[in-house]
């Protein structure tokens, strides 16, 4: 008996199905191919890379870029640390602020709900622009060249407040909150013990987006950071690019002769290795969190 593939009665014909499948196979491949190219380039021998260029199948492979980073790349390791720090602290601060604000807005009894709602929403429509923001952050808050300049300016996202408020309203029944408060629970108690546990999916989604935002941020560093010891990974990549000598300079600062350092430094492959190092955490983690991201998208689509 010929085994037939089960096709539901409203599926498309075989021909177009195959064409669509091949089309998406090519497009999906094109989405990861550049990353594979960069991984292979970081594993290429430096002289081979300079002679033959970037390639998916390098002639001579070498781990030198990575051993260099672990042995002499203090700056790179330090920058990795800065990125991890701002991501963790930033996400914690940001999610806490967002959840508090959203919870207060979701409480029908809150007297000033409307006011704070407009206060947040208006900033989505109008903003002062880059220059006044820059001047406020550097001159009023005084964050020029401070690690907090990487955390505070992006600590709140009004869109996330709206998403979370909508989620609180739709998934936490008012009656539960009322019941808890009749039993004597205060707002903080209700928030931590009841609302937060029920809303974990939405809080997780927003935490993921926030984590990603901090990890990927280079813009605030570009505006506010000058010192090498608080340079995050993404900005380090921009600086290396702008100034190929950055790493060499750094090596010579650490007591090595500049000539010696430039001989040893596999600059091109190290650049690619840093790209790999800053992308690997995302590439490994996101397939597992993807469903939360998609959930977050659909939650965001729900409006009041």
């Amino acid at each position: 008996m010929i085994k037939k593939t089960k096709r539901s009665f409203h599926s498309i014909n075989k021909g177009p199905d195959i064409i669509i499948t091949i089309f998406f196979a090519i497009f999906a491949l094109s989405c990861i191919l550049p990353f594979l190219t960069v991984i292979m380039s970081s594993l290429t021998d430096e002289t081979t890379l300079i002679k033959n260029g970037y390639s998916l199948f390098p002639k001579h492979m070498s781990l030198k870029a990575y051993t260099y980073i672990f042995d002499q790349g203090q700056q790179i390791i330090k920058s990795f640390g800065v990125s991890v720090f701002i991501t963790i602290i930033g996400t914690a601060i940001s999610v806490m602020m967002t959840a508090f604000y959203a919870y207060a807005l979701s409480r029908p009894k809150f007297r000033y709900k409307k006011f704070f709602n407009y206060m947040a929403f208006f900033t989505m429509l109008f903003g002062g622009g880059l220059v006044p923001t820059y001047l406020v952050v550097t001159h009023v808050v005084g964050l020029k060249d401070s690690i907090w300049a990487l955390i505070l300016p992006m600590a709140l996202n009004v869109f996330f407040i709206i998403v979370m408020r909508t989620f609180f309203k739709s998934s936490v029944p008012d009656s539960i909150i009322e019941a808890a408060q009749i039993d004597g629970a205060g707002e903080f108690m209700t928030f931590f013990k009841i609302v937060l546990p029920i809303s974990l999916p939405s809080v997780a989604t927003i935490s993921l987006f926030t984590t990603l935002g901090y990890w990927n941020d280079w813009f605030n560093a570009l505006l506010y950071i000058d010192s090498a010891h608080i340079t995050p990974l993404q900005y380090l990549l921009m600086q290396i690019d702008r100034n190929m000598q950055f790493l060499i300079q750094n090596a010579s600062d650490m007591g090595m002769g500049a000539g010696e350092a430039s001989n040893q430094l596999p600059a091109e492959t190290v650049k690619m290795a840093i790209v790999v190092i800053s992308t690997i955490p995302i590439a490994c983690a996101y397939p597992f969190f993807q469903k939360y991201f998609i959930q977050g998208l659909t939650v965001g689509a729900v409006k009041e």
């Binding site: 409203h10 006044p132 941020d217 990549l237 590439a283």
Partner: protein, 311 residues
């Protein structure tokens, strides 16, 4: 009686006010204070002792001089043309491609494979523009890039990609769609999956072809979402994606005529020429037009289809 009411009121609202406080303080400092800062656009801003606020007060009023300066330069035309032009192309190509991709993905019969495709299509969305700029560089670098290697092996001449403006409108549109298509496709796909399957079944029984089903069932269901997303993007049509235009062309000077947009112009005016008044004016111009556009589109949409408006 009245006293206990008041007490009750305070007990009710105080904790909530405390919760709002950090966020409200943040909004005041990082959003509202800069909004008042826009008066700099009408001043000849100089630093005075006593900090930013006092500098702002003491700087001399110059009326619309900063705006005149901006619009009398040739730059104004180029940056506005680039910003609006690219955004229009991004909106049109992005919407058409992602809706088409979502419909096609939905029709794929191999569901497992479709999930794998979605996962890898989603990947570029999670990357920063800095990382993407390196990806692009691996292909376009003039001496080491893969495309030039391919051109050479085909017996053609190398191209110096980072110095020739004529290629960049195409490259930027491609790269931007490459980064965002996975995300927007999955977004629309989620909406398609939520359509009640019985619509399609009854359409089939009535003999509707696949095209007719897409035209009369799928697309009408996606309409509100397409409209909402388009309103939002039209509201931002005067704001460019800074990272795309700053990082991907590697700040290459010869490419400025086709890569300089309002956001990169403001940044460079602030950082390199230190012209605070004029760069604030440019930013304010951008913010005001953005505000008007979003109000206008929302108003029009409200007139046509009340449910699709966003506020």
């Amino acid at each position: 009686m009245k006293k206990s009411n008041k007490k009750h009121f305070i007990r009710k609202n105080c904790p909530l006010l405390l919760m709002v406080l950090p966020g409200a303080a943040w909004l005041l400092i990082f959003k509202y204070l800069p909004m008042f800062g826009v008066v700099i656009a009408f001043k000849d801003f100089r630093y005075y002792p006593g900090g930013f606020i006092s500098s702002m007060i003491h700087s001399e009023w110059v009326g619309f001089k900063n705006f005149e300066f901006l619009f009398s330069s040739n730059d104004a035309y180029i940056i506005i043309r680039n910003t609006v032009g690219y955004n229009l192309v991004f909106i049109i190509t992005g919407t058409i491609l992602s809706v088409a991709f979502a419909i096609m993905l939905n029709e794929m019969t191999r569901k497992k494979l479709s999930k794998i495709f979605q996962t890898s299509m989603f990947f570029p969305y999670f990357l920063s523009w800095v990382i993407v700029s390196y990806f692009v560089y691996a292909y376009l670098s003039s001496d080491k890039g893969i495309i030039n290697q391919m051109l050479l092996s085909l017996g053609m001449d190398k191209t110096s990609w980072y110095t020739q403006p004529k290629f960049w409108p195409m490259i930027l549109v491609l790269v931007n769609n490459w980064k965002h298509l996975g995300y927007s496709t999955v977004y629309y796909l989620a909406a398609i999956c939520s359509v009640d399957k019985t619509y399609y079944e009854s359409a089939m029984l009535d003999g509707a072809t696949k095209w007719q089903q897409i035209k009369y069932i799928t697309l009408p269901h996606l309409k509100p979402m397409i409209i909402t997303l388009t309103i939002l993007s039209i509201g931002r049509i005067f704001s460019a994606d800074f990272g795309l235009f700053y990082n991907v062309p590697k700040q290459s000077g010869p490419l400025f005529p086709v890569t300089n947009v309002i956001d990169t112009y403001v940044y460079r005016a602030l950082m390199y020429s230190g012209d605070i008044g004029m760069s604030t004016a440019t930013g304010l111009f951008q913010a005001v037009i953005g505000f008007l556009l979003i109000m206008l589109t929302n108003y029009i949409v409200k007139k046509i289809d009340k449910d699709s408006a966003i506020f």
